[in-house]
């Protein structure tokens, strides 16, 4: 799947989306943006909202970069990517604050931090700056969906274990394992889910996943 990533014949939409969700899942495979993934995922709903915000920013930034890549001077491409991401983050931040004040009150702080998410700038550098419009769109969509899925799974695990509820609905009395609501518990949750993710992939493909997080972008 991930062989289709680098410049060459145009990759297919389905492969690109699956690549974002499984092959190069931003959290479980590339291990990027772990800090926000830990910070917001104390509940499922927080995870969903931040995941959707990241999805929108990723798609919009990928589209902007792929459309303007001819005019972006290569020496200043990183600052320009940062500005593009910051603009979209600010626009989404303003829209959320104006139209969903209740949700914004909970995750507003983290929405602004999307500017510094490694996954977004890394997709712009690795993919959108080298590929035409359509593949860039699907790559952004796949990566955004992969991040959203990861946040939802981590959020569900931590809310269930840490607070004994799911999406705000209490399922167990008290707090079964308070530890999981704390930041350290977030890292343990990610590690456990990453191991599970690798195991499932090995059973499906019959091969051991290659660790490639560190060298990316």
């Amino acid at each position: 799947m991930s062989a289709a990533l680098h410049p060459g014949p145009a990759p297919r939409a389905r492969d690109l989306i699956l690549n974002g969700i499984f092959g190069e899942n931003p959290v479980f495979r590339l291990a990027l943006s772990l800090c926000p993934a830990v910070a917001v995922t104390t509940t499922v709903l927080n995870g969903v909202l931040l995941g959707v915000a990241v999805l929108l920013v990723q798609v919009l930034s990928s589209l902007t970069v792929t459309l303007t890549r001819r005019w972006i001077h290569p020496r200043v491409r990183i600052p320009i990517y940062t500005i593009i991401i910051a603009v979209w983050v600010s626009v989404i931040d303003m829209l959320l604050a104006a139209f969903t004040p209740a949700l914004y009150a909970q995750v507003g702080l983290y929405v602004k931090l999307i500017v510094a998410f490694a996954i977004i700038i890394s997709r712009l550098e690795v993919f959108a700056s080298r590929q035409p419009l359509v593949p860039s769109f699907f790559d952004g969509l796949g990566m955004g969906l992969g991040f959203l899925l990861a946040l939802v799974v981590i959020g569900a695990m931590r809310e269930l274990l840490g607070a004994g509820s799911l999406a705000g609905i209490p399922l167990a009395p008290g707090k079964p394992l308070l530890f999981f609501a704390l930041p350290a518990g977030g890292f343990f949750s990610i590690a456990l889910l990453m191991a599970l993710f690798n195991r499932i992939e090995r059973q499906v493909t019959g091969t051991r996943a290659k660790a490639k997080g560190g060298g990316h972008g």
């Binding site: 020496r75 200043v76 320009i80 593009i84 603009v87 626009v91 104006a98 308070l178 609501a181 704390l182």
Partner: protein, 282 residues
Amino acid sequence: MNRDRSEVLRIAVTMTVVCALAGAILGAGFLVTHRYREASDRRAERGAILDLLQLDSSATVLEIRQYLAEGGRQVVYRAAPLGARAGTVPVREIEFDLDGRRRNSGMSADPAAARTDRALVPLGRMFAATRAGAPAGFVVEGETRGYKNKIRFFIGLTPDFEIAGVRVVEHEEDPGLGAEVATRSFAGQYLGRTADDLATLSVTRDPMPEDWRAALATLARIPVARWRERNAALIERERAKPVYAVTGATISSRALTDGVRETVDHFRRRWELLAPELRGPS
């Protein structure tokens, strides 16, 4: 040499254009959304205040802002109906010395001028509700030092200074731990305590009795008035006891309790000074 210079120039032009475009998009985004944001903020605040006082929108609410003036030697109060946009209604202004003597009181004819005429340090806001001419309750804004940063809250008081509700509106406590003090079930522990009860109120790390915990948990679902009716016996029993700290968040629990105590105490003394002034001819 020449090529270098033209490249530098191109980079500078590209960056300038990008920044100008980014600024334009952000400006447009702000123009489109800020009206909705302000309106939703005002709505949320008015809703929270009426909700704390258990009033519907037929009550009139006076918003009183407190400022420190003249280098901290005077206290200025400005009163105007809640929800009115600044600069559209006349503002009543009352000034006191620090030892509580009134210096000046009157309507400012031009509200826009009154807002800018001198350096005022805002100290906080209070809201006094009246219904059919009789006082219906107060909401006081308060602030306290939490575990990491300030906790900002509203306290609803009945006309006899009994707590009708506490609502945390801004905090940065840890989710899953200190953030619990912002829940209705934690704030429910303050309900019905009088200003005199508060003066001696402490926080305990003892485990909360199970029946009390279960009763507080239902506060998230049922209106406060009905909740107090249903749990009258339990509330009576717990009123003599301290506030139970959130497990693992004693500091946040203490911070909010201290903040509530101080805010109510200050307000009660300020209101003694202010009430006769506000009742007078306006």
